[in-house]
Amino acid sequence: MSLLEIHDLRKRYGAVDALKGVSLAVERGEFFGLLGPNGAGKSTTINILLGLILADSGTIRIFGEDFATRQTAIRRRMNVAAAFTSLSGVLTVRENLKVYGGIYGVNNLNAKIDELLERFEITDLANRKLQYLSSGQHTRVTLCKGLINDPELLLLDECTLGLDPDIAEKTRRALQEFQREKLTTIIFTSHNMNEVEELCGRIAFLSKGEILRIDTAARIKGLIPQQILEVRFQPGEDLEAVRHLDGGFSPQHTGDSTFRFVLDEPETQLDAIMQRLVQTGARIADLQMTRPTLEDVFIKVARGEI
């Protein structure tokens, strides 16, 4: 039994078909990514899992129980941190966390709050009113709230939005540490490919309310086997031989003295092509291998090319 099972979830807002039958299963302890462009339906999925939005149809089982009828009990064991949401502005950071600690029934609350503030390096903000915090500080307080009850299932909706790169990096580290310590199951939405690739084991590609593919980042990238080799030669070299390189490499002349080779089977082809290039006698100035990114795959998958 999976920790979370979603079956054929559908949601329509007036004329907008936000989810067109989403099904997925997430196992205990997974760091699961929900990746997709803006408007794909990531937040809608998360909000339905929180009971903030009612789906039109479909079933959800969390911790083996039916979400629709056992919501209150299930929600005690979950939590969320989402961009653009806030806590009470007139309350201080500590007061806000105490409120949520009470709501989620947390034991040893003060110690828990201290631990979380330290984890996200905002201990000095404890007694500041929320309304006076910057958006990055705010985001981290929201994360503390999300971890207050040591949730078994944690939903993170674009939770690093608005953080500067340094803090975003620290925040990702803190989340990873937390996840390893507590074996939390995390569902992480983002439209940032690098972030998702770095953090998540499996990834679901969501586009226009449909899941296009679910797999690990490595295997998803394997969907595009090609790698691209770019070679720049020293200025003034005679490149006629390169242009007519045999062995079926079909070089593309892309700039003054630069050529591009698409390798369908890089492991076997790379050695052969390098030897031939050396034989031409043209002196090489620079080399670059480009591997496909998740983004490349995503674009191809979304266009139906894979």
């Binding site: 807002y13 937040s43 809608t44 909000n47 929180l50 009971g51 903030l52 939005i53 009612l54 789906a55 039109d56 149809s57 479909g58 079933t59 959800i60 629709a68 009828t69 056992r70 919501q71 209150t72 009990a73 929600r75 005690r76 939590n79 969320v80 989402a82 653009f84 949401t85 806030s86 806590l87 009470s88 502005g89 007139v90 309350l91 007061e95 105490k98 409120v99 949520y100 600690g101 009470g102 709501i103 989620y104 029934g105 009113k129 929320l130 309304q131 929201t142 709230k145």
Partner: protein
Amino acid sequence: MRSSLFQELTCSSSAIWGLVYKFVCICYRSLDRIFDIIYWPVISLMLWGFTSTFVSATSSVAGVMEFFLGGAVLWSLFWRAQTDVGTFILEDFWSRNVYNMFASPITSLELFLAIAIIGFLRCVLSFAFLSLLAWLLYAFNIFHIGGLALGAFTTVLLLFGWVIGIVIAALIFRYGLRIQVLAWSVGFLIQPFSCVFYPLESMPRWVQVIAVTLPTTHVFEGLRHAIATGELAVAPLLTALGLTILLLIASLLYFHYALLQAKRLGLLTRFEMA
């Protein structure tokens, strides 16, 4: 997919503690909420104090002072109860906290018990303060009408105040902050029909028809009766209490329905509402 009403009726003391703690923090952190308890009731007390001083000096009707001041003190109790429920629920809208609040495991029952606790405390504070002030400024002792009568009047007013507050909050959940002004005006609409400062029989027929359906009318009629005769008219008060309890249940059901509707339409996650 349905979220059952039954789930909303469970409650945990720690969640209620969390919510009450939030409301208490809001009360002392926000100047508005302190003003609520002191400023507005005092203004109303001064207004009716001066009016009744003038009228009782120029009119032959007995007990004018008691009618007006008793009405003013009790009305502000109703007003306090009603606005507290509304503002404490809406506080989350104003600070964009609705998302996190309603994603948490709080149930409607916990929310209302917490609001009832804080609302009750604030009403007691406000009432004690006003009674004292009325006594100091105008030598008017509201406790003269008797403990039982006072207890009955305040209970009905408190509960009916909550009914109106719940309806206001439900309307705003369902239709968004853009109907705020309309929602709050529901409270104002009650006053002229409640016969706070004038007897029911002095009203035009059509007003009377509406007035008798309001629990508040029976309270203020009862107040004047108690002041004039020193007795408590029990039957109309019991009717008013019964009516109020029915309305309270209905308003809670309506709130539940409005919340469900808001979840269907995806309104709780639309931040431009706030």
